[in-house]
């Protein structure tokens, strides 16, 4: 299942899909005739697998939907027939029969048999999707109100990772490689769900959960936290970025590259503003203080849930604030999201260029983050968390400071 042959028949797969679509709608809403739908589906369409794990689910759920649809059509037709045929037309009072046990038992066994037919492949799929030993690369995700941290442990897999890589909001993985996501949470339960790659898995604090990820083609795969996690649950999004192996190597190398000092004056001012205002929580690897000592952020002392996104290579990602906002302007975003698979890697690795930066949104965020995203940061309402905010607090930055910070952050790639 997890090789390319199954994937090289997209035509066939899409036929199955549209059939299933018809049936599920027919069964669900009763909208009979419908357009075959050549327009683009939502990026989180659950019937559009892009990897072997999701495909496995697809292979199971399409027949189930078809069976459910057929059973539904038959049942509803019978009911419609009965309603029409036996309506009161003045016929005599019918026989007071209390039922026919043979018929009854037959009609009990029939659905039971159908369900046994469904149960067997279900069980085998459940076990197949729970496998962890055959994966070749491990990526940790940690949920926190309301963003995802992604880190790559030191390992031989993923083409070898020599030092831990920490990023957030977007998980980058090599195509065609079975990846094991190991996840947990720092505060409440979150759920990791990339519909086109696999079903969801709750990330429960104190537990380490696993979820297989594998993409067949380079591209960007949208996801969303699906376990209600409090105030900004709706804004807790994430993406999986699949890159060709060599592109992935480039990405990895960049994530481990040395700190680049700001190149212009504004950005240089931004560095000191960053150190003064942001580095308590946000780590930028390689940043040093006046004595040359590395600056280590301590979000564990300053944020209730204990972490804040690592901003060392912010501009290699295309989103920020828990993937709620795009770092790219809408045009540049479309360039990345709608890029054909063979051009995708190149466009993604370009990162956020000064022309493409969504300055308006980034500035709004720096100006007053709690107004942009519902969070618990009002100092008057933090008694329950010992005064520690959940989310990024209002920093009262001046417009000048914001200019500096934007310039500084723009070079973090």
């Amino acid at each position: 299942m997890n090789n390319r042959t199954s994937m090289s028949v997209p035509k066939g797969a899409s036929t199955v899909r549209s059939v299933s679509r018809r049936l599920r709608i027919a069964a669900a809403v009763g909208l009979g005739a419908l357009v075959a739908g050549c327009a683009q589906d939502a990026p989180q369409n659950t019937f559009d697998p892009a990897g072997p794990n999701a495909q496995r689910i697809q292979n199971l759920q399409v027949p189930v939907f078809i069976i459910a649809g057929i059973v539904g059509v038959i049942t509803l037709s019978v009911i419609a027939f009965v309603v029409w045929r036996y309506r009161d037309r003045g016929q005599a009072i019918p026989e007071q029969t209390h039922g026919k046990p043979a018929l009854e038992i037959g009609l009990t066994i029939l659905p039971a048999l159908i369900l046994i037919g469904v149960a067997i492949p279900t069980v085998s799929t459940v076990f197949a999707l729970a496998e962890t030993d055959d994966t070749e690369c491990v990526i940790n995700v940690t949920g926190q109100q309301w963003w995802w941290e992604v880190d790559y442990p030191v390992q031989d897999g993923c083409g070898g990772i020599s030092a831990p890589i920490v990023t957030s909001g977007q998980m980058v993985l090599p195509v065609d490689t079975p990846v094991l996501v190991r996840g947990t949470s720092r505060d409440v339960i979150h759920s990791w769900w990339i519909p086109r790659l696999n079903g969801k898995r709750d990330m429960v604090p104190g537990r380490v959960q696993t979820n297989r990820m594998q993409a067949d083609e380079p591209g960007i795969y949208a996801g969303q936290c699906t376990e209600f996690c409090g105030l900004s649950h709706a804004n807790m999004r994430m993406e999986v970025i699949a890159l060709e192996a060599d592109d992935f190597e480039v990405w990895k190398a960049n994530q481990l590259s040395d700190y680049e000092s700001p190149t212009n004056e504004l950005a240089l001012a931004g560095e000191s503003t960053f150190i003064a205002q942001c580095s308590r929580c946000h780590q930028v690897n390689g940043l040093t203080d006046g004595d040359g000592d590395p600056i280590v952020s301590r979000p564990d002392l300053n944020v209730y849930s204990g972490a804040a996104p690592n901003l060392s290579y912010l501009m290699t990602r295309t989103t920020f604030a828990g993937a709620m906002f795009d770092l790219l302007t809408p045009e540049c975003r479309a360039d990345v999201w709608e890029a054909p698979p063979d051009e995708f890697g190149e466009r993604y690795l370009e990162g956020v260029t000064p022309e493409c930066l969504n300055r308006v949104q980034l500035r709004e965020w720096l100006r007053n983050s709690p107004a942009e995203k519902p969070m618990y940061t009002d100092p008057n309402e933090l008694a329950a968390t010992n005064g520690l905010p959940r989310g990024m607090p209002y920093l009262a930055l001046s417009e000048g400071q914001i200019d500096e910070l934007v310039a500084y952050l723009l070079e973090r790639k």
């Binding site: 491990v138 880190d151 429960v204 537990r207 280590v296 204990g306 972490a307």
Partner: protein, 378 residues
């Protein structure tokens, strides 16, 4: 109309008033007068109460009843309450010279016996009908008797049972519990399927069981509990500075903390016979180091497969202490000493990343030089 008692009290009141007036007029001194006035007032009040309650004879209106009063009123039935009251009084006095609980029990028993006595005495005077009187008593007393009595019985059962269970050894507890439970179930089945079984048989069985339970509870309670291991927590070990000590303290290998944590472990670390630490977690083997997420509680199970008692310690680098930041202290946490083949849990919640300290973080086992495992916190 007026009973002897009433006549006596009315007379006494009148006499005391006369005496008071005479004394007050003839004699000097305030004390005597005040005393006599007090006596008069007291007697007058008692008389008033007596008149108001008609000497506790509520059917005094009923001429026929009054006329036939002594004959129609049934003699008081036998009552256990005076005896109970006396036992209570005895226990209380005995408690004064022996132990405090005895004193308290005495008071409680006395209070209970007295209350019951009062209720019964009051009810026996309610009417001339014994059945009605008993109903009146039940109506007043049962709402208090049943909850308190029920609670007392449950309390005695639970306490006796727990004494017996804590006295038995760990293995025998399980056996006794199963056997007794099975017996109760069997007896219940027997009685349920034989509704005609004699009441006395049932009461007898229950009494024997009850007496046996209480007696067992008393005996075992006096003898004391078995030895019970005290659970040592990892925090306690660290606070005591024992993380580099290969010998001190021992914890119960089946500590609840460990069992619960097995459901949600981030990694399992094993100390093998060859003195090496190996780790196990889901998925393909990573490098030799273990990566745990930052500032997040992670459960790590430590399994001791070596032939000696060992503990797993974590070294989290040095920190500066004191106002002048001259002294440093190593931050360490560790499990309690784990017996051979035993398992212990340690919950790690690490804030700063491992690259923020020189040398990084590492697991080690005191007393086993070769057992070291790098811990990476990104």
């Amino acid at each position: 109309m007026f009973t002897t008692g009433t006549k006596f009290l009315v007379g006494a009141t009148v006499v005391s008033i006369i005496v008071t007036i005479v004394y007050g007029v003839t004699q000097d001194g305030v004390m005597g007068t005040v005393g006599l006035i007090s006596a008069s007032v007291a007697l007058a009040m008692v008389t008033g109460v007596n008149l108001f309650t008609r000497d506790a004879n509520i059917f005094v209106d009923d001429e026929a009843a009054v006329a036939t009063c002594p004959a129609s009123r049934p003699a008081p039935g036998p009552s256990p309450w005076p005896l109970l009251f006396a036992i209570g009084a005895f226990a209380m006095v005995l408690g004064l010279v022996t132990v405090e609980p005895m004193f308290i029990i005495g008071i409680v028993v006395m209070f209970a016996g007295g209350a019951e006595w009062t209720a019964q005495a009051w009810a026996e005077r309610a009417s001339s009908s014994t059945a009605h009187n008993s109903e009146v008593r039940s109506r007043i007393a049962n709402p208090i008797e049943y909850p308190i009595g029920g609670a007392a019985i449950i309390g005695v059962i639970a306490y006796s049972f727990s004494r017996i269970m804590l006295w038995l050894s760990k293995i025998n507890v399980v056996i006794v519990f199963s056997v007794v439970g099975a017996c109760i179930l069997a007896a219940a089945f027997f009685f349920a399927y034989r509704p005609n079984v004699k009441r006395s048989v049932m009461v007898g069985t229950m009494s024997v069981a009850g007496v046996a339970l209480v007696a067992g509870g008393v005996v075992t309670g006096l003898d004391g509990e078995r030895d019970i291991h005290v659970l040592e927590t990892a925090q306690g070990e660290a606070a005591a500075g024992l993380c580099e000590d290969p010998e001190k303290t021992e914890a119960d290998s089946k500590a609840a903390q460990t069992v619960a944590a097995q459901a949600s472990v981030a990694a399992e670390i094993t100390l093998n016979d060859d003195g090496k630490l190996t780790k196990r977690l889901n998925g393909p083997a990573e490098s030799s180091a273990l990566t745990l997420p930052r500032s997040n509680p992670s459960n790590v199970l430590f399994r001791n497969e070596s032939s000696e008692k060992r503990r797993l310690s974590v070294d989290l680098g040095e920190t500066e202490i004191g106002a002048d930041s001259i002294d440093t202290e190593r931050i360490q946490v560790c499990t309690a000493l784990v017996e051979e083949g035993g398992v212990q849990n340690i919950t790690l919640n690490i804030g700063p990343p491992s690259n923020s300290v020189e040398g990084g973080y590492f697991f080690f086992v005191p007393g086993v030089e070769s057992a070291v495992l790098e811990l990476i916190v990104p």
